[in-house]
């Protein structure tokens, strides 16, 4: 009766419709696109409804969606039931994708900085002017300081591949990716143990230990959904976390482990498993390298010893080791994702990888799976030129000894740029990357920016990093873009290919980063390297998959059936020993610990609290806090504090406090929570931005980037975000 499709006009229908569409296109009303469509649409008749396949871009998971488009306006996003990777679901952020599209806070046209950096004075310019300026400034830097004098930071995005390609043809290998503040230490650890980064077969496992991960809140498809299905099927979940996350709350056992001591727990598990010979000897002889060294090495790490470090009772550790190995190989130590926590994160994750190795779960149901074949080809592109005047290496080369060359380390790069050594970096191209909100030590990032001559940001809204840039270029949301094909690993669900086509044309003057790069390349005598369209690029990717285009059109996804288990049968591991390296020979060669040696975390100063960060299901890092639909869930962040600690500090719930670290300070309200250790505090990321362009969260809460001190993982150069201790003082009640 109240259906918006009811063509009958009633006394209130007119008002209702005008109200409804005003809400839906609040932002869009300023756009020529929507105006045009409104004129075309036969007003008074039932709206034309189209359903279009697309893929979510609110986080990097890429879940399948169906967009409902009515008279050219996207009115709803629903899950694509055929998209097995996302298990036919769409989370809160996915549903809020529509708000990202129609957000009045969106950037609308290219803007050039007028006043000082961060002063917020902008001049609207045309795209031609913008691209001319960008090309000219980068070429000037290339001439004066070499092409490596421009830094490129592509965030996790389907079109980031073009930024990498542009950097390559432009000639800079100074690239720092999102990964260097996320999962590199995990990748390092698993690569150096199994020769490959695995996917956990959560769905079929019977026992899972989750440490430094929060899959029920940090939604990952299909792991999050599979974990709940596994739980329903009787899988036991053990969570170690200083904070009572929703994952901890839904686990069978939760241990509020002392922060930074995870390795002690896993070494003790290895101790029990090896001492009690709870591993498969035949498997170990055949596949594992260094089992004897390990047995010897972990003799010192008894559960009783670990109890002192972790504050987890020895008998619980012993029991868990026994339960875990009894469930093996359908048992997993969950590898996790964001492992940018401590200075020894790689070794910590190595200790977890080693326990996985002892469980013999590699390449088996309910264990760790290798990446599956998807079948995308590399489009034929011209060979990238080589510039002889470039320095030999990345700026941060050698600052961590197991760094990934193509990912870099933002933390080390920043230090080197500030120092100007070994060579200067003066330009920065930023795409979907916001270190001023998401990464440690905001002040230092600003200091780094002040060393630069020219900074370009391509973003959807005026993020803090865009706000501090010189040229800001408006990007469309994924609903307005054509994207290259991407292969997705969906654990046991699938290996699949997705590709986006625009659901509606781009709003305002926004342009996808591909167009921007192509425009810049054309102005830098690099046109030949971008002499293709996204469509052509995608055709090149799909050339080996004749059925893909049809499947993408009809189902919104293409599956390439590939082997799931036993991929490694008859194959060797990509390690020096060609086996699963419990004892890592390369580490031994370069002087790192070949087996993880426990190092206690830095001692906690008196009256200081360890700051930990972590996810909420409604927020992707610091990108969705300003989204009206999600903002309502948490209008500002608060500091989680244990009631006993609060009593000690004379605080009650809701009191405002000043939080201080060596990096900076912030002010926010405290929430008294039993679900956090007395020595630890937590706050959500993404608040108190510098940019007033984020209207809903500007001036709300406190910013983690201003508080977290800059540490990095020794081996991978990954940022270490849990090494900060803060001081808390009362600021008076609200």
């Amino acid at each position: 009766m109240s259906s918006p499709f009811d063509p009958a006009l009633s006394r209130r229908n007119f008002l209702k419709w005008s109200g409804a569409s005003a809400a839906a296109i609040a932002a869009g009303s300023q756009t020529p696109v929507l105006h045009a469509q409104a004129k075309d649409g036969n007003t008074g008749q039932a709206p034309t409804v189209a359903h279009k396949y697309t893929v979510c871009g609110m986080c990097l998971n890429a879940c399948g969606m169906i967009a409902r488009v009515e008279n050219g306006v996207v009115t709803k996003l629903d899950p694509n039931p055929r998209f097995l990777k996302s298990r036919g679901m769409l989370c809160a952020r996915g549903n809020a994708g529509i708000q990202q599209l129609y957000d009045p806070d969106r950037l609308k046209y290219p803007m050039l900085r007028k006043g000082e950096r961060g002063e917020g004075k902008w001049e609207r310019i045309s795209w031609d002017q913008a691209l001319d300026i960008a090309a000219e400034k980068f070429m000037k830097i290339a001439k004066e300081y070499s092409r490596c004098g421009v830094l490129f930071t592509p965030g996790s995005d389907t079109q980031s591949t073009f930024v990498h390609w542009f950097a390559e043809v432009f000639g800079s290998y100074n690239i720092a990716t999102h990964e260097s503040s996320c999962l590199l230490s995990r990748n390092r650890a698993y690569l150096d143990t199994f020769g490959e980064v695995p996917f956990a077969d959560v769905l079929h496992t019977r026992y899972i230990i989750i440490v430094g991960a929060n899959p029920f809140e940090a939604i990952m498809t299909p792991d999050t959904i599979d974990l709940m299905t596994a739980r329903k099927n009787g899988c036991k979940i053990v969570v170690l976390d200083p904070r009572y996350t929703k994952t901890a709350g839904l686990a069978h056992e939760w241990f509020p482990i002392k922060p930074g001591t995870d390795m002690a727990f896993f070494l003790a598990l290895a101790h029990v498993i090896t001492q009690e010979k709870r591993y498969d000897q035949t498997y170990a002889d055949e596949k594992l390298y260094g089992i004897n060294e390990l047995t010897e090495h972990v003799r010192q790490y008894s559960p009783e010893w670990a109890e002192k470090e972790t504050e987890i009772p020895a008998e619980a550790i012993r029991r868990i080791a026994r339960e875990l190995s009894a469930a093996a190989p359908e048992a997993i130590v969950y590898p996790g994702r964001r492992t940018s926590d401590y200075v020894n994160s790689t070794q910590m994750r190595r200790s977890m990888a080693i326990v996985n190795a002892l469980l013999g779960n590699w390449d088996r149901p309910g264990g760790l799976l290798a990446a599956r074949q998807v079948g995308l080809a590399n489009p034929d592109l011209p060979e990238a030129p080589f510039y002889d005047d470039n320095p030999e290496n990345r700026l941060d080369h050698g600052m961590a000894n197991m760094m990934f060359d193509e990912e870099g380390s933002f933390k080390h790069l920043r230090d080197a740029i500030i120092a100007g050594k070994p060579y200067p970096i003066k330009g920065w191209f930023i795409y979907k990357y916001n270190p001023l909100q998401s990464l440690a030590n905001r002040k230092k990032t600003i200091e780094m920016m002040q060393k630069m001559d020219f900074i370009v940001s391509v973003d959807i809204t005026m993020s803090d990093t865009a706000y501090m840039s010189d040229l800001v270029l408006p990007a469309p949301s994924v609903l307005e873009r054509q994207d290259p094909a991407v292969g997705l690993q969906g654990s046991s669900a699938c290996a699949c290919v997705m590709a986006r086509d625009p659901v509606i044309p781009p709003l305002y003057e926004s342009r996808p980063v591909f167009d921007i790069l192509k425009g810049m390349a054309g102005r830098m005598e690099l046109a030949e390297f971008f002499d293709f369209t996204v469509e052509e690029y995608r055709k090149g990717q799909l050339k080996g998959l004749p059925d893909a285009e049809k499947a993408l059109r009809e189902d919104g996804v293409y599956y390439n059936p590939s082997k799931l288990y036993g991929v490694y049968d008859g194959k060797i591991y990509k390690t020096l020993s060609k086996k699963i390296e419990i004892y890592n020979q390369r580490y031994a060669q370069m002087g790192a610990d070949p087996l993880p040696v426990y190092q206690a975390p830095r001692e906690q100063p008196v009256n200081r609290y360890r700051l930990v960060v972590g996810r909420s299901a409604c927020f992707t890092h610091c990108t969705t806090q300003n989204n009206a639909l999600l903002h309502e869930m948490m209008p500002e962040n608060t500091l989680w504090l244990h009631p006993r600690s609060a009593r000690k500090l004379g605080l009650t719930d809701g009191d405002r406090v000043e939080v201080k670290s060596h990096a900076g300070r912030g002010e926010l309200a405290v929430s008294l929570k039993n679900g956090i250790r007395e020595d630890t505090v937590y706050m959500a990321s993404g608040y108190d931005p510098l940019s007033p362009g984020l209207t809903r969260i500007y001036g709300r809460g406190a910013c983690i980037a201003d508080l977290i001190e800059d540490y990095a993982d020794h081996l991978s150069g990954n940022m270490a975000m849990h090494e900060t201790f803060v001081q808390i003082t009362r600021k008076g009640a609200v």
Binding site: S10, R11, R12, L15
Partner: protein
Amino acid sequence: MAHQTIHRHTRLSIFMHWFNAVCWFFLLLTGLGLIRNDALQVFPAWPLWMRSVFGSPETLLLSHETVGIIWAGGFLIYGILLFRQEVIPFIREILTVEIPRDSLWLITKGIQMTLGYPALEKIAEKFGFDSRIPDQGFYNVGQKLFAIPSILGGVVIALTGFIMILSQYGTVAAELVQWSIVIHFITVGLVFAGLLIHIFMAAIAKGEQPALISMFTGTVPEDYAHHHHKLWLDEIRASDAAETSPAQGNG
């Protein structure tokens, strides 16, 4: 003399009277049909029937609201345009009350209407008051006593109705709307109770046919005027004598 007629109502007044009557009945019946709640409705079948007559509950509400606006709007325009000519004299007339005479009228007329003349005479004798029914002006005091609350009631009904319509198109404090419905309902109930008597007294009761007819013709027989509204008749005669204005005569 008995056959002579006297002008009593202008065409506009006649129109407004019947306009009011028709609107009232329509609004009453549709309004009653809108109350669909077991705890409040005495005739549960009525709303169902009304809704089916109108095709749907929405049309019923829409009709009620439309006619309500026409009714209130009609009186508003009438009141504004003829404020001096009609409203002020009317109000002055209905507010003019002479307590000893008019209260006696109420008593004697009341007894006469209910118990009849013989009873009136007996009671008057017993309690020692004049059994003759006192003379009245253009309106008798009974009409005045009905007119005052029904006008006030009309204003209340219009206002509360307006609040309810308004609350569908704008933000109105919830409590105001909540009380508006109740007051609307109560006022209609009370005015309607009076209306029943008005209808009886003015149209059905014996000897009142000239009044009913006058609501079509605009004139009353002189003897009726003499009998029911003697003071008014005296006034007309006095002014006729003074001005010999044809407008005041029966033409």
